[in-house]
Each structure stands twice: as C-alpha cells, then as structure tokens.
C-alpha cells in the first residue's frame, strides 16, 4: 500500500468515525428534546386543566352553599351568576381536555368525570331551583346531601384523573431521564471506540512510513564522505515513494563512485602532467638569458640528468654542414672528465649516430657488459638503462642527448624527455641565432667605431695639414724677414760708422722735426718712433759689438768711435722711447698693468740707481720714508719707477751742489683732493723730490710739463735732455690715477710732488675716470687689455703692430646697424669706426632689407629687436628667406631680462645674440668671431 493511500485510509477512517459519532449524538439529542416537549406541553397542560376544573368546581360548590344558607337575595343572584359562569367554563375545559387526550385510560377517566359532573350539575340545578323558589331547608338539605355526595364523587374522579396525568408525566420524565443516561453511556462508548480506532490507524500509519525512512537515513549516515569510492546501498523493499528514493539514491551512489574513480584517474594524470610541466618549465626558465650554446648544453644536461634520474649524460651539438657534419660533445653530466663518452661522432656512426640518422629516440635496457661505468667514490657500476634522443629542429637533428641510469627509465620520464627535447631544438636555434646576431652586432659596432676613428683621423689630419700650411706660411714669412734682416745687417756692418753717422743725423733731424711738428696726439710720431727704433737697435747692437775690445779688429781709436756711436745711440733710444711713450700716452696706446708692488724696496732701488750719480756730482742724496706708508701697493710698477727716475734724473741734472732728497709718506687725502679726484682710489702716497738746483721761475712752471719745454733754450743747451721727462711724468702719473705738481723758486731749487693712489682693481671704470680727469680718457681705449707687449724690445713692439694690422678682421668690413634709436646708432658708429669698420645704418626692417637689396657688401648685421614698422624677428626671417643671405652673420641685440626673446631670435635666424646694454668688449669679441672666416 502506498504512502498516499495509507494516509488517505487513515485520515478517512478518522473522519468516518467522527461522522458516526456526531450523527448519533444528534439523534439522541432530538429524542431528548421531544420527551421534554411532551412533558412540558402535554402532561403539564392536562394537569393544569384538571386543576383549574377542580378549582372552578370547588368555587361553584362554595357559592351554592353560600346561596343556600346565608345569602340574601342579591347575594344569592350573584352567586348563582358565578355558578353558571363556572359551569360553562368547566364544560369548555372538559371539552378542551377530551380533545387532547390520547390515552384510553385518561379518556375513560374523563368520561367518568363527565358523567359524574353531569349528575352533579343536575343536582346542582335542582338546588338552585329550590333556592329560588325559597323552599324550605328540608328539601333543600336532602338535596344538599345528595349534592355533597355527588360532589365528592366528582372530586375524587377529578383527582383520579389528575393523579393519572401526573403519573403519566412522571413516567415520561423518568423515561427521558433513562434515555439521557443511556445516551451518555453510548456517547462515552462511541468516543472511546473512535479514539481507539483513530489511534490504531495513526500508529499504523506512522510506523509503516518511519521505518523505511529510518533505514534510508541510516544508510546515508553510514556514507564516508572522505572516501566516496565505496558507497553503501539502500535495500529496495517497497515499491512506494520510499522505494523510489532508495532506488534513486543507489543510482546516485553508483554514479558518484564512477565519478570518483574518474576524478582519481584524472588527478593522477594531472600530477604526472604537472611533474612533467614543472620540469619542462624549470628547464625553459633556464633557457632564458643564455647566449651561448655551450653554456646552454652544460646547464641543460646538468639539470636534465637529475630529473631523469640519470647518473651520466652527454650533450652533442651538430657542427658543420654536409660532409663535415658531425656531432661534438659540448657538455656532460657526471662525466669522468674527457673520458666520459666520445668527443664527437658522425651521422650513422655507432648507435647514437644511427639514432641521429633515424631521428628516433632509443631506449636500451640490455646493457652490454663493457659499457661505460658509472663512477662513484667507491667504485664503478654498470648502468641499467640508456636513452639516446635526438633534438630536432625543422626536421633536422641539431643535437643529441644521451643519458644512462642505474634504474630503468619510467614512462613518465620518457614522456618528459620527449617534451623537453621538443622545445630544445628551437632554443638551440635561437641561441645560435642570438650568438650570430651578437657576433654581427659586434662586428658592425667595430666597423662603426672604425669609421668614426677614421673620420676623426681624417679631421685631425686635415687640421694638421691646415696648421702645417699655416705654419709653413709663417715660417716662410719669418725666413724672408730673417733674410732681409741679415742682408740689412750685412750691409750695415759693411757701411759701419758712415751709415751710423747718417742715421744719427737723420735721427737728429727727425727729432728736430718732431720738436717742431705737432706736440700732441700724433700717431705719426708713434709710428715713426717705431720705425726709428728698429735701425737704432741694430746700430746699438753692432756698435757695441764693434767696441768690444776682445772681439774687434778695429784699432783703439775706432773702438772709441764705436763707443761714442753706441752711447749716442743709447741717448737717441732714450729719446725715442720717451717720444714713443709720450705719443702713446697721447694717442692712448700705452698699456698700464696694475699689479702688486712692494714699496718697502723703493728706497733701496733708488739708492742703487742714483747713488753713483750723486757721488759723481758730489751731491747728497737723502731718502726718507715714513712708517705709515703701506708696503703693498697696487700700481703699474714700471711706470711708477719711470716717473720717479725721471723726476730724480731731472733733479740731479739741474743740481750742481747741495742735495737731492726724496720723501715718501702717506698723502693727506684732503690735500690730494685739491689736485686730482680719482674714483676707486685709496691709500694715496705722496713722494716729494726736492733739489737745491737752479729752480724754475713762476711763469715757466706752467710750461715745463708741456712736451719739449725746458726752463729756457739756454738751459737745454747747457744741461742737455729732451724736455720730455716732465711731460711723460705727468702723463704717466695721470695714467696711474695720480698727479705731479711743482713748487719752485728760481735759484733756490725745486720740489716736485707726485701723488699716487693704490689701485688694486686697476683702472676699470673708464667713465668715472673720465669724469674726474678728462685727459686720462684717451689712454683708456678698448684695447688696453690686448695682449701685445709694447714694453718689450723695440723689435717685438713693431712685429706686434704689423701682425695686428695684418690680422685685424675689422678693416674694410662693413657692418649694418639696424636700430631705431639714434643714440644707439651714434654710439655704435663711433665705436666701430674706431676699429676701422665701415658702418651702414638702417632705422627699421624695411630699410635694412632695402640696403641688402641694393647689393651693399655687408659682412655682418647688428639687429635690434624692438623697432617700429618691421621688428627684428620679422626682418631676420625675411633675410633668411633669401638663400644668398643664408650664412650672413646676424647678431641680435636683445634685452637681457627677456629669455624668451633669445629663443625667438634663434628661430628667426639670428646667428648669435648680445644683450643690451652693450659692452663694447663683448660686442667686439662677438664681431671678431663672426667676421673670422
């Protein structure tokens, strides 16, 4: 029976019993209700009616009595009335009762009562009659007795009826009570029975289902979830749902078991695969960064052998092609040095060669006795199995691997070997390719470097050659000059004194002319002086040579002549030098080098130079130096000494007796200030040269500093000298930032005072110096720092001058200044003109382009940026658009603060830029750079 049926049956039984029980109870209750109705409605009414009848009867009776005995007439009438009334009531009631009676006995009794009552009523009517008629009491009393008798009969019948009815009622009541009790009993029985039946059904239902379920649960609980390979089955005992469950469970268990088995197999396979993959990956990782096949072979076999459980192994790589093809051992594992295995073999040579030929892997389990032994520390063992495998790449064997093991190789190891060898071919090929690329790269790099080296060498050579050709040119020039000089020297030697005489006369004449000609700023004079110094130099050297008694073939007199020539030449040179210095000062070409100088050595120096003069003239020579004079002093030592020497020479020259004294002390700044103001000067020193000579008259004192002026003509003739000394002194003093003054009285002697400042920074600030001392300005031209030594020998001085003219890049060069500011143009024009350049000017871009168009031969352009009309950028761009001006140097003049301007300038095509305000030195440097070819 199915689970569903069981349930339906069980619950159906329970419902059935409940229905029976309920209908029974309904029936019983209905019975009870009809009993009750009977009792209440029927019996009780009958009893009630009988009671009422009795009461009415009694009353009638009483009224009769009363009417008969005691009553007056009225009362009697009233009583009679009531009796009549009662009589009709009783009759109606009896009629009512008789209609409702159903029991025969009751009917019988009521009939009896009716009869009796009818007899009584007759009697009664008689009595009433008598009463009405007023009969005496005798008749009446008999009647009364009779009535009494009848009345008793009626009452008893009535009572009997009533009792009967009550009895019936009581019976009915007890009947219904009995019925109730019966019913209670039955209900209890029925309920108990139902409970019993239902309980049995339920117990049966529960038991019959839970048993199967329990058996299933137990089986499921018994399953070992950790090991699903064996799962217990549930016995199928029924065909119901539980049976179905058990069946399904069994199916499931079976498939689980199968699945589990499959999973196990799979896991095993995976772990094998894993084993292989790990090792393959391990080896593949090792391939990385290997750039050498030998390294690859070594690392490969060293890794592979342990993985394969091999004890020895060797790795051969193909070398050569065609006939030369062979396999060379590159690495071995646990190899016994060189002995382990063959060093190389050819295709088909031996078993391994055969394998290589067949491109097949061979596994050998039967090892010949004499096979190579695996060497351990203790001895040697024969391997048990050997595997020989080719490494194939693009269907070609590129390498061979041989491994020998003490154990047999497992299938897994063989699979692994195959897989590893599959990729090894590519790797070997890659590595070889990489090696080849590396080699080629190195080769090409070497070639690149070689090329670079060659180009540098060529460059160097061309530079060298250029230098050499320049050198050659210079050498040729030098040779030519040396030649000329030699020739001249020869000629001079030949002509000797005669020529010297002529030269001297010439010089004197020149000196005369110099004196007569312009006293100031004569470049001509400077140049002439140079010209003079060269031959004079020769005269001096040659005459000195001639006057040397050891080295001369001349007689003594002639030697004396030569000495005279020499000393006259010396004088002449001094004069020329003086003139040169002065004219240089005046044309501003004298270089002044401010440097450190030690004043403490000054007295000694002066003594050394003038002691012998003083001695010769028998004059006292006194030098006083105050202690507050600083030792270290910054000035141009050479010029400084020249001034002092000149002053002292003068003093000695014009002093015949007495003394010449020098006083060196720190100058009073205020005192200095009234004579001269030099900015940046400090530590003034005052040097006084006092003599007791002829003195100078007041009116001449102003003149003596003019060139070629002495006290008077007579003095000149008497004392000699050029009259340039004091001029030079003052000019030099100015150059050094100082001043010379004179204080003298004729006949009493003179005092020349020389004020000079220490100038550690030199005379840097030209403008300021100009402001203070206009005359000095001329001395400070831009080239004061130019490195050619005019104070060197006369020859050197002249050479430099020549070189300078020759190399001067500014001569005959044309510069185009493009600027809208007239003051700028003016300033540039003056400065550049002074350098010997041609200057063109344009006030804006249009003019600039126009000038260029006209075909002016312009060498360089100075381009201002901020201009009305066409600005500098646009102008430059337009210039560069024309291919003929592609390489024309354009120097942009930018504002220093504007960094972006510079980039714009370069973009627009400027060759270089210089920032405003312009520094003349820098501008000239840049121009030199851009005018050099």
């Amino acid at each position: 029976m199915g689970f569903k049926k069981k349930q339906m049956l069980g619950f159906g039984l329970i419902l059935l019993f409940l229905a029976i029980l309920l209908s029974f109870m309904m029936f019983t209750l209905n019975n009870l209700k009809s009993s009750m109705t009977e009792i209440v409605e029927n019996r009780y009414d009958k009893v009630q009616a009988s009671m009422e009848i009795r009461q009415l009867f009694s009353r009638s009776d009483r009224e009769i009595l009363f009417a008969a005995n005691d009553a007056n007439k009225e009362e009697r009438a009233e009583s009679l009335e009531i009796i009549n009334e009662n009589h009709s009531l009783i009759e109606s009631k009896i009629a009512g009762l008789s209609g409702s009676l159903n029991k025969s006995k009751a009917k019988q009794l009521l009939k009896e009562f009716e009869t009796q009552y009818a007899s009584y009523s007759i009697t009664e009517a008689e009595i009433i009659q008598k009463i009405k008629s007023g009969n005496s009491s005798d008749n009446l009393s008999s009647l009364m007795d009779d009535q009494r008798e009848k009345r008793t009969k009626v009452i008893s019948t009535m009572d009997e009826f009533k009792d009967y009815q009550e009895g019936v009622m009581k019976d009915t009541l007890s009947n219904s009570r009995q019925t109730y009790e019966d019913m209670i009993g039955f209900v209890i029985f029925a309920v108990i029975l139902s409970i019993l039946v239902i309980s049995v059904t339920v117990v049966w239902m529960i038991r019959s289902t839970s048993k199967d379920l329990q058996s299933i649960t137990k089986v499921i609980e018994d399953i070992d979830f950790k090991n699903l390979s064996v799962i217990p089955r549930i016995p199928v005992r029924t065909t119901d749902e539980i049976g179905d469950i058990a069946k399904s469970f069994n199916d499931m268990a079976e498939s689980l078991e199968i699945y589990n088995q499959k999973e196990k197999d799979f896991t095993e396979k995976i772990s094998e695969q894993n084993w292989i993959q790990t090792r393959v990956a391990d080896i593949a990782t090792m391939y990385q960064r290997i750039v050498d096949v030998e390294v690859l072979a070594d690392r490969f076999i060293t890794r592979l052998a342990p993985m394969m459980g091999a004890s020895i192994g060797a790795f051969y790589v193909k070398r050569g092609e065609g006939v030369d093809m062979r396999f060379v051992k590159l690495a071995s594992f646990a190899g016994d040095g060189e002995d382990s295995g063959r060093r190389e073999f050819r295709l088909g040579e031996g078993l391994i060669g055969q394998c290589a030929l067949e491109k097949k892997t061979k596994v050998i389990e039967d090892i010949p006795e004499d096979f190579q032994l695996v060497t351990t520390g203790l001895g040697e063992i024969n391997p048990k199995s050997i595997v020989i495998a080719p490494v194939v790449f693009e269907d070609e064997v590129v390498a061979m691997v041989e491994l020998a093991s003490l154990e047999a190789f497992t299938k897994l190891q063989k699979t692994f070997l195959n897989q590893v060898l599959d990729t090894l071919g590519i790797t070997i090929n890659n590595v070889e390719g990489r090696m080849e690329i590396e080699r080629l790269l190195k080769e090409s790099q070497a070639q690149t470097e070689e090329l670079q080296a060659q180009s540098e060498e060529l460059q160097s050579q061309s530079e060298e050659m250029q230098a050499q050709s320049e050198e050659l040119q210079t050498q040729a020039e030098e040779l030519r000059m040396i030649n000329e000089q030699l020739e001249e020297r020869n000629r001079e030697t030949e002509e000797k004194s005669k020529e010297l005489q002529v030269a001297k006369l010439n010089l004197e004449k020149q000196a005369e002319e110099l004196k007569l000609s312009s006293k100031y700023k004569s470049e001509f004079m400077a140049n002439m002086s140079h010209e003079l110094r060269t031959p004079l130099n020769s005269i001096l050297i040659l005459s000195e040579m001639l006057s040397d008694p050891n080295d001369s073939k001349l007689n003594e007199e002639q030697q004396e002549f030569a000495r005279v020539i020499n000393s006259s030449g010396q004088d002449l040179l001094t004069l020329i030098n003086d003139i040169l210095d002065l004219s240089k000062v005046e044309v501003g070409k004298l270089e002044v080098v401010f440097d450190e100088m030690n004043l403490s050595e000054l007295p000694e120096l002066l003594h050394r130079n003038f002691d012998h003069v003083a001695k010769k003239k028998n004059i006292d020579f006194i030098i006083e130096k105050s202690k507050n004079v600083p030792d270290i002093f910054f000035t141009d030592e050479q010029r400084f000494q020249q001034i002092l020497k000149n002053l002292l020479s003068n003093a000695f020259k014009f002093t015949e007796k007495g003394s010449v004294s020098v006083q060196i002390k720190k100058a009073d700044e205020e005192n200095v200030a009234q004579w001269i103001q030099t900015k940046g000067a400090s530590n003034w020193v005052e040097i006084k040269v006092t003599d007791t000579g002829i003195g100078i008259s007041k009116e001449k004192q102003k003149l003596i500093f003019e060139a070629f002026q002495q006290g008077d003509g007579a003095t000149m003739r008497k004392y000699g000298g050029t009259g340039l000394g004091l001029s030079i002194c003052r000019e030099f003093a100015k150059l050094l930032g100082g001043w010379v003054i004179v204080d003298s009285e004729e006949g009493q002697g003179s005092t020349f005072t020389f004020f000079i400042p220490s100038m550690p920074e030199g005379f840097k600030n030209v403008d300021e110096a100009i402001a203070a001392s206009p005359e000095v300005a001329a001395a400070n031209h831009d080239d004061s720092a130019a490195p050619f030594g005019e104070q060197g020998g006369p020859d050197a001085g002249m050479m430099d001058e020549e070189d300078r003219d020759k190399a001067k890049p500014f001569c005959n060069k044309t510069v185009l200044v493009v600027d809208d500011d007239h003051r700028n143009i003016f300033a540039l024009k003056n400065a550049l003109k002074h350098e010997g350049m041609e200057i063109l000017t344009a006030e804006n871009g249009f003019e600039c382009l126009e000038l260029l168009e006209k075909g002016n031969n312009i060498d360089v352009i100075l381009m201002d940026i901020m201009m009305p009309g066409m600005d500098g950028y646009e102008t430059m761009t337009r210039i560069r658009e024309q291919s003929k001006f592609e390489n024309l140097p354009i120097i942009a003049l930018t504002a220093k603060a504007m960094k972006g301007d510079r980039e714009k300038c370069l973009k627009a095509g400027a060759s270089d830029y210089v920032s405003k305000p312009l520094k003349l030195d820098q501008l000239l440097s840049v121009l030199r750079v851009w005018l050099t070819n």
């Binding site: 470097e449 070689e450 140097p889 270089d912 210089v914």
Partner: protein
C-alpha cells in the same frame, strides 16, 4: 718555420715591433690600439718623412731624439670641439643635471679630454645650472702637450662660430660671448670657467682609477682601442663610478656589445648615456 712572409704579415710584425719599441722607449702603450688605425697613422708618418719601411721607423724611435714624441703626437688624435654633438649636451642638461642638484659635490671625469673643449662645455652647462661651484672636473689625457694647451683656455677664433651654433643648439641660455674675450687670433675663455677644472696626465691603458666619480665622459676615445682594451678600460670606468653614476660614450659607441651591458641601464640610449646599476 715559414720561408717567406707575406707583405701583410711582415707589416703586421713590423708594427708590432714598432709599438713594442715605442712602449719601451716612452712608456706609452699602443699595443692594444686598433691596428688599422695605427697602421694608417704610421703610413701617414712614413709618407711625410719619406721613410720606406716601418722598420726604419723603429730605428728612428730608438736612435733619433724627439722622434718618438713626434710619433706619439701622430698617434694622439685630438679631434674635439665645444658642445660636440649638441643633442648630447642638451640631454645632459635636461635629464642629468636635475639629478645632480641633490649631490653635495659633483665629480666629473673627462677621460681623453684632448684640448679640453668638452670639459669647458661641461663647465658652462654647470655654471648656467648653478652647479659649477660644487663641481670638480677632472680632465685627463695621455698627451701632456694638449693638456698644457687646454689649461690656457685658448680657442682658435675661427672655430668660435661653430661653437656658438653648438652652444645654442645644446640649449645654452646665456650669451655665449659672455664666456670669452677675443683678440685677432684667439678667443680666451673666462678664467672663472677654468677654476674648477683640473687638467692632468692620465693614460687609460697604463694608469688606474684615481677617484670615484658621479659622471665619466669618455667620448670617441675607445674607438681607437681593440675589444680587449675596451673591456679593460670599461672595467676601469666601472670601478671609478659611484652607484647610479653616469657613463657617457661617443655617439657611435655602445656598451651593449661589451660585457658591461648588464652592469648599466640605458639612461639615454640615443645619446649613449648609461647609468651604473
């Protein structure tokens, strides 16, 4: 024993002996210089001096006073210019200078500086970047003569135009003319630029490391060396560089073909700037 030597073999042998002689006489070792280059220079000298055989030169090296110096001058190629390869200097300024700013002091070695133009260029860049005061530039060359020249800071006037162009291309942000004055032949570098440059003789082949540097520049020097010598000099540079230091080589050179490629990272592969790892 071979009966006859081919001409090449004989020449190679002669050159080998010549270099041996030069090494013994002067201490300058050219034996590991690139043979092709040496050969060209020897041939050049032979042409100029009308020497028929290299062996003749060996004799002159041994017996003729001053001849070995002359050969040494020939062997030392002094091709250089200011801001040579302007892009290199631009890269240096843009990418390396910011890294140098953190250093308390900067030591730079110009190996094979020749007449010092690159060292001057470096000084200018450092000056413009405000680093010059804490920098020290060691400029070395094996040729004492060029060093004496370099010390003066004198540049030929006719090169200044191209130097100006290079300077501007290398990202110069001042006026190049501020760094020099000129006369009619030369340009004179500002002495302030020279104050932190030390010039001294150092031979890469025979002398060892003398300091630890943040930057080593050796541009177009090793191109004259054989691979072996290049490796040796690279080792010297490696040992002389501090960690994260920079090595700059010439535009046609590379570290990639050397065994040092792993020891440096490419800092700027185009300009051949490498950084020590």
């Amino acid at each position: 024993m071979k009966d006859t030597l081919t001409i090449e073999e004989r020449e190679d042998l002669e050159i080998e002996l010549l270099l041996e002689a030069i090494y013994s006489v002067s201490g300058f070792d050219f034996r590991k210089y690139m043979r092709s280059s040496i050969k060209r220079r020897v041939e050049n000298r032979m042409r100029l001096d009308h020497v028929r055989r290299i062996s003749g030169m060996i004799e002159m090296v041994l017996y003729e006073k001053g001849y070995v110096e002359k050969l040494l001058r020939d062997f030392s190629i002094n091709v250089t210019e200011m801001f040579r390869d302007p892009d290199f200097f631009k890269a240096f300024r843009l990418n390396i200078v910011p890294l140098l700013k953190k250093l308390p002091e900067i030591r730079i070695w110009h190996a094979g500086c020749s007449t010092g133009e690159e060292a001057f260029s470096m000084a200018i860049i450092l000056k413009e970047e405000g680093l010059y005061d804490k920098a020290r530039i060691y400029a070395t060359d094996m040729n004492d003569e060029v060093l004496r020249h370099a010390e003066k800071g004198i540049l030929p006037l006719n090169r200044m135009q191209s130097y100006t162009k290079n300077y501007l291309q290398a990202g110069g942000n001042q006026e190049f003319s501020e760094y020099y004055t000129t006369d009619y032949q030369n340009a004179y570098l500002d002495s302030g630029l020279l104050k932190n440059i030390v010039f001294f003789q150092h031979n890469l082949v025979t002398d060892g490391s003398f300091n630890e540097f943040h930057i080593i520049m050796c541009r177009n020097v090793m191109i004259y060396f054989t691979g072996e010598l290049q490796t040796y000099v690279n080792q010297l540079f490696y040992d002389s560089l501090c960690k994260d230091g920079f090595l700059a080589v010439g535009s046609k050179e590379t570290l990639h073909t050397s065994s040092f490629s792993e020891d440096y990272e490419d800092f700027d592969s185009k300009e051949r700037i490498y950084r020590k790892l």
